[in-house]
């Protein structure tokens, strides 16, 4: 239900940087669909556990698209849509690396 994860990579810079920690929770997604701008953690078959920003969500199909904020981000523009069942959770707390 609740997970602590450490961010690696730069696709969500400048807001999220490698070394930051995030606390993710699945419960909010049971009651509310992910919306544009939400930062979510999910499982992608080729890349494993990823953290990205929701770009759009289609409640009918349960599919959503994610993007990064960095120009070289690998996201739905490469691997396509994801399904709500792939979601691990929504970021509810972001602990920044002070360095």
């Amino acid at each position: 239900m609740i997970k602590v994860l450490k961010v690696t990579g730069d696709s969500l810079t400048p807001e999220y940087k490698g070394g930051d920690f995030v606390i993710v929770l699945k419960i909010p997604l049971w009651f509310k669909s992910p919306k544009r701008g939400d930062v979510v953690v999910f499982r992608q078959s080729n890349y494993g556990i990823l953290i990205k920003q929701v770009d759009r969500y289609d409640p009918q199909s349960g599919e959503f698209f994610v993007i990064g904020t960095h120009a070289d981000s690998v996201d739905s523009r490469q691997f396509g849509a994801l399904h709500k069942r792939d979601l691990i959770g929504k970021v509810i707390w972001h602990v920044r690396n002070p360095r």
Binding site: K3, V4, L5, K6, V7, T8, G9, D10, S11, L12, T13, Y16, G18, F21, V22, V24, V41, S45, N46, Y47, G48, I49, L50, I51, K52, G68, H70, D72, S73, V74, R77, Q78, F79, V95, R96, N97, P98
Partner: protein, 166 residues
């Protein structure tokens, strides 16, 4: 302070990673560069044998031309190897290896034939280099659900090349 607590938790228990994955190539992979490079290797070997067979005087012009052929052969054999290494290392994933378990041995064979093509002027090895890269291309396109066809390259050495049916 809070960050330090999380950091020590990570050090002690190993917190799971969430990748904010970034990659400059952005999914642009295509074995055609390796295929063309391998064809160039065969072409250079043909030109080397042609020049040597002409019985021309070994003057500066001869050495200049011969060294240019050898240099291009070297460069393209290495280029083909590098292109295959990138696709194998960055694109090929565990599930591709499950579906196409021969990938690793095909790549290893390409590396060896590429080296042999650099070290020697063995045309047979270079043709096998082209063909093994063709096998890799067939697997690569199959992982994307794209069928392939074989056709002779429209230029010397006119060997068979695997092309995707796009």
């Amino acid at each position: 302070m809070i960050f330090k607590i999380f950091e020590s938790l990570d050090e002690k228990f190993g917190v799971e990673r969430a990748k904010a994955h970034c990659d400059v190539p952005c999914g642009i992979y295509d074995p055609i560069v390796a295929q063309i490079s391998a064809l160039t290797v065969v072409r250079m070997i043909d030109l080397i044998h042609d020049l040597a067979g002409k019985g021309a005087e070994h003057d500066t012009a001869y050495h200049n031309t011969m060294s240019r052929y050898v240099t291009v052969k070297e460069e393209h054999a290495e280029k083909a190897k590098a292109e295959i290494r990138i696709i194998w290392g960055d694109y090929i994933k565990a599930q591709h290896l499950e579906s196409y378990p021969q990938v690793n041995s095909v790549v290893h064979k390409i590396m060896q034939l590429g080296s042999k093509s650099r070290q020697t002027t063995d045309r047979e090895a270079a043709v096998e280099f082209v063909e093994t890269i063709n096998e890799f291309a067939e697997i690569f396109w199959a992982t994307k659900g794209i069928t392939t066809k074989r056709a002779n390259a429209p230029y010397a050495p006119a060997l068979e090349v695997v092309y995707p049916n796009l």
